[in-house]
Symmetry: C2
Subunit: 452 residues, 2 copies
Amino acid sequence: MPLDELAAQLPAGALVTDPDILAGYRHDRAQDPDAAVPAALVRATCTADVQATLRWANTHRVPVVPRGAGTSLSGGSGGLAHGIVLSTEKMRAITVDTATRTAVAQPGLLNIEVKQAAAEHGLWYPPDPSSFEICTIGGNAATNAGGLCCVKYGVTTDYVLGLEVVLADGTAVRLGGPRVKDVAGLSLTKLFVGSEGTLGVITEVTLRLVPPPPPASTMVATFATVQAAADAVVAITGVLRPAMLEFMDRASIGAVEDMLRMGLDRSTEAMLIARSDAPGSAAAEEIDIMVRACREAGADDVFATDDAEEGEAFTAARRMAIPAVERTGNLLLEDVGVPIPALPALVGGIAELATEHDVTVAVIAHAGDGNTHPLIVFDPADEDMTARAHLVFGKIMDLAIELGGTITGEHGVGRLKKPWLPAQVGPDVMALTQRIKDALDPNAILNPGVVV
Amino acid sequence: MPLDELAAQLPAGALVTDPDILAGYRHDRAQDPDAAVPAALVRATCTADVQATLRWANTHRVPVVPRGAGTSLSGGSGGLAHGIVLSTEKMRAITVDTATRTAVAQPGLLNIEVKQAAAEHGLWYPPDPSSFEICTIGGNAATNAGGLCCVKYGVTTDYVLGLEVVLADGTAVRLGGPRVKDVAGLSLTKLFVGSEGTLGVITEVTLRLVPPPPPASTMVATFATVQAAADAVVAITGVLRPAMLEFMDRASIGAVEDMLRMGLDRSTEAMLIARSDAPGSAAAEEIDIMVRACREAGADDVFATDDAEEGEAFTAARRMAIPAVERTGNLLLEDVGVPIPALPALVGGIAELATEHDVTVAVIAHAGDGNTHPLIVFDPADEDMTARAHLVFGKIMDLAIELGGTITGEHGVGRLKKPWLPAQVGPDVMALTQRIKDALDPNAILNPGVVV
């Protein structure tokens, strides 16, 4: 590929071919063994750099992997040997407008930095993927990222009012804008959100901000069966919208207790951690309702607190689940979702798969929206175990599809889950997807191997 | 067109050619004079009927206008002389699942019937276009309809989890499903929501339902200037999310008072009607905050009540604005949106246009999301006035675009607003839209003349 030609159109230093640096752009957090060191890296400094790069790539048919912070858990930003990585990490400007309650951010800003910029103006950007301290807002938009507060406050797409996107041929288009309601033309903003870099490269995001929520109260309940916990989740979500409703199974509770020694009950089969941030005295009322729902579902132990620090300790325990389980081995991190009533069948089925294939699988879940993260533990030095872990990874997706669920609730399809997508959506939806892909990226240069 | 061939594939009575019946499918609520009596009407009874109709139409290149209840205010469902109307009015089934808090509805069901079906199971479907008693859920999804409670609860797309859509070639695809979080593949569900029948025909909608809100308290404030009212809106929406935040100008207040005689102050320039449905004592706190914000912005008169009936009277007054203004003449109903701080410039500019072109324009607005409905009054028997009204209709859109706004916040582009769409979104977005249209409807049979 004629890299000199590309370099001539970019600012000094934007095109990187140093092998030591390129090596750092091979993998994303999914650690896909098939990811390769890319042929080159472009660190775009502005929209024009992205345009120049895509024009060049489109002309020369060079695959382009768009990349934010590389925190993809489904291998959406891993390198390709014959392609380049187009990183937006240097594009980090943000402006906040309090009158329209919007922020205009460049894609390389971290989620936490967006939250901080909003907070400086007394506003709040809700979506909170667990990786919020290390993932970019551009990546969040490209994958329609979720998080813990989404059960009440919605996912990334609910906060994206507008985008600037560079198309495969280098054209930059502006979609939507700082308007809560806008139905002028097709919902193109929504189409690009969650398109995982396959239709265009996001170079600017206009975000809706909201007033900050009141302080949250917290409830923790333990159950002797997953079924009882799921019953409580159905009962709770039928009458109110909790600000958080998280689930941990026995294996994840044990791993967290090993790490934090905070006195969690290792013998319990399921734990729910719920929050209410309803204003004024309503939080206490909502917590009461949740406590009663857990008791009626047969909870062993229920604990409630309006002390922020105490409540935060349990949320931190839930957030620690992934690193805690990771201490016991490498992880294949699943992201399957099912309708809430199917939660016991999913968790039960996963336990059976774990036993059958002799691997450890710990399950945590954003229970309030049926989105689970089975954590499959394996030792990469043990080839047989690694193979069994990958087998179980696929079988969990098969199970989710069987239960009317999805192979990915919030992480994206990437390269790792692509083989299972047709089984979920069917050949007609795959054909429809391909028609849109072909219309927007006829030379298939944008993140090839992802989704389609 | 070979109607016999189509009739043979449909149940008896589904294909209608009776001119008296067809005449009723010429216009929608926009009363577009260019709408024509269609050549035929299909009243589909099921998805298979829609498939048969589109397969036939695609083969014979017959334009198809999909139609729900025909309540489009932008001429999105008016008849075409050389086309057929495909009505979903007979497809009216609904099932509600309390465990997943979802409803699966056929498109011909009215919005109010969806709300009622949800309420029978103790659940709530929030989106509430003012026409909710007469518009269909299929039309709501096709136009991404808004309403009064959207300022807090979001618009139709926020509640559509899944769709069954019949594509131009008759293929039926299922998109999404009863899952709050699902990022498997492109956001196709979101692309079809708001596509105004140009990409496919919606034959089933899976809707997210939520717990019903607590009873609402209401606040009403009057202002000597639109600027003061807009200042109050910015102040309020910066600190809380009201359940409703509506605006009426002097002309619409006068028209409503003429009709209802409820004691509204005709001399006031602007009135805000706001609601809080925060739980427990929080509603009173939110109302207090809104009252203070209005006083600080210079309100003349502020009134608050937690009496449901009293509050409902003011909401009813706001809902009556359109019929009240309609008593004074025919209406061209605008739907422009601007960022909230531009509200005074928009309302002021509209007043100038009204004076300059000697037409009456009353303005009501979903102020909390910057979405306004200027009501242009004209006498259709007066040709010159009719022409002036249409001129002002266009100039209001020009003004909204100038102010960084949108030509349509919630009604859709339809045929009436199509000429202004390129000025808002620009040639590159129009080209992108056309590429998607061509990919999905290569023979351009689906609602031609709308959007693209």
